[in-house]
Symmetry: C2
Subunit: 349 residues, 2 copies
DNA sequence: GCGGATCCAGAAAGCGCTCTCATGAACGGG
DNA sequence: CCCGTTCATGAGAGCGCTTTCTGGATCCGC
């Protein structure tokens, strides 16, 4: 009838008593064992094992002021978040890196502006050691809110404007776009159109810039604004066909728009790639390989980007969070990272 | 030159001093203000506001033994995790619900069996109040490990075997499958084939069972094993075409396999839906609406399932975690929830 | 108008841990 | 063989908070 009295988890005290040493010694052993003689250390370890002792994180961070936890903030109102495996892949990279450093991942999903205050409060509350923030919209208030917390931060995707103090990790949107357009040119296409993404996102702007780098004198009629959705891609493609019936290639700012473009081209009786070559961006799984025809696209290593974000953050944490001016070697802030992209050739171009 | 001395966050003590009351009073106000006279309370609140006081969670949980945090454990070796927006959508539902209850979401991504021990340790370490676990494989050790922690838990997807003590939330896989197959029958199809998922996952088994419920006497040649991937779907479809050339309908266990089946059917010169009707499962965005032709499929409300998992867990937390036998009203454990599915008709069937 | 019940506020004891500091043993040099 | 070091260990303070317990004021009924 009487249950076990809820098996109280063993404390440092308990381990110390059982091993016949002081709490301080057990603490030292648990934290790496520096300055404890081997025989004593192994004795303590045995007791730790035996009792199944696990340190109480709350007690520990109360005194160390470290939490071994970082917040991952994903702010995306509805669209894209998780429609697209993008964030998932990124999370995976982050998780791997954090786990390796014995840090926890606290996930904060933000959907509405009204959540911003909550996030700010949480960060200011000092429950985590740092933050990884996904902010893709220009003129977003989130970066400022996060900065106000004073927490070491790394952005995913280039924020706008860029602040020297907070590094970011992004793929080479501009370079990837250039490569895509150059490839279309190398195929002998003379009228390369571009379907942009929503231009309030830096990635969309950068891809457009890359396109312009290669065809600086492109007719404005060859550029149509999309929104990273299949429907937007369809709309843009229809526009383009009307304005520039002679086009023979399309570079879409992402795979989703490209899939929409593909559909419209098919309906219009244009063969891909014979009449019109198409290239997307992202190499989105499982979409890109399953379109009709399979999509040539620019791939970014999303998981690796996540891992880099975490690595960057952890490194700045090691150097002590927000160290004052007293720090001996200023040791430059870790710089932002731009990862390379690679053109994946399939059938559409 | 001299930086501000790192602006120490105000403590309860500071607020108390400033408001001219004791720490205890401030604590009471911060935690709801029960038993404090209105004028005093509002005075304290003003100071809290003024100083931007945020309680230190570590200190609080040290004494309350609550953490206002829930672990979300996603165990999927490579495949599917985040290739598929499934978990992302689920996370969103969970996040919304937890946020509303002021709880944190600690994400634990598990890739290999070797990570299981780490998870077990983390849970046993008592850093979270409960756990939400995604466990779809039969005979997986994870459920046992999680149960060993003694933490209140809710599973996502029916675990196998089911334990009375830990509820789960799943969609009505079997019922959804039945509806799909019945729909095919109602279209006048007489030879309905089935491409299964990997049969070590309960969802795949349940969908197969649903298929069998409707066509109990189906020829074994009409069933081919897939693995929830497009490639598996292609393989299975080819097999089926060879074994049962007369088939006129296919129910694929998920949209990904259905997309593979579609491709093989097209190559084989079978028109969809005229010659062969096809139905998938999941209503996976953005795939299902973009296949050729658009896929008829069984939709499950993933986000809602996530929200329900969180709600179930929070409810059992409110009733006190792992209350002993002394609890006055046993108040039945929250029961598992099976959410309904809905058939989404597009073009393929 | 007095005694007892009621209620609000404060004092103080920890929660489990880390870390500084003091202590004493072991050691080596003169 | 003694003294100054060095180094491993233990004692104890305290991180910021909640919560019991207690004191004192207020209120009610008789």
């Amino acid at each position: 009838m009487t249950d076990k009295p809820a098996a109280p988890r063993p404390t440092l005290e308990a381990v110390a008593a059982r091993a016949g040493v002081s709490r301080a010694t057990v603490s030292r052993v648990v934290n790496g064992g520096a300055g404890v003689t081997a025989p004593l250390a192994s004795k303590v370890m045995r007791v730790v094992e035996e009792l199944g002792y696990v340190p109480n994180r709350a007690a520990r961070s109360l005194v160390t002021r470290r939490h071994d936890a970082v917040a991952v903030i994903i702010a995306e109102p509805e669209t894209r978040v998780f429609t697209d495996p993008f964030f998932g892949r990124q999370l995976r990279g982050i998780s791997k890196e954090l786990t390796a450093h014995d840090s926890q991942l606290v996930l904060l999903l933000v959907e509405e502006k009204s959540d911003y205050a909550r996030v700010g409060r949480y960060l200011a509350g000092g429950h985590v050691d740092g933050a990884l923030v996904f902010s893709v919209h220009t003129q977003d208030e989130l970066p400022a809110i996060v900065r106000a917390s004073g927490l070491p931060t790394v952005f995913g995707g280039r924020p706008d404007p860029v602040e020297e103090s907070t590094p970011y990790v992004d793929c080479d949107n501009r370079g990837g776009a250039r490569e895509a357009v150059r490839h279309l040119l190398s195929l002998g296409r003379g009228q390369v159109a571009h379907i942009t993404g929503p231009l309030d996102q830096t990635s969309a702007v950068d891809r457009l810039d890359g396109y312009r780098d290669v065809v600086p004198d492109a007719d404005a009629a060859l550029i149509a604004e999309g929104d990273f959705t299949p429907e937007g891609g369809e709309r843009a493609m229809r526009e383009l066909l009307e304005r520039s019936p002679g086009l023979d290639a399309v570079f879409a700012a992402n795979d989703l728009s490209a899939s929409g473009a593909l559909r419209v081209l098919r309906e219009a009786g244009r063969r891909v790639p014979e009449d019109v070559a198409v290239i997307g961006f992202d190499d989105m799984v499982p979409l890109a390989g399953r379109t009709e025809p399979p999509l040539t696209t620019v791939r970014q290593d999303i998981e690796e980007m996540g891992r880099m974000m975490a690595r960057l953050l952890l490194r700045s944490l090691e150097r002590g969070p927000a160290r004052g001016a007293a720090g001996p070697e200023p040791e430059a802030d870790p710089a932002s990272i731009v990862t390379p992209t690679v053109l994946v050739r399939r059938t559409s171009a």
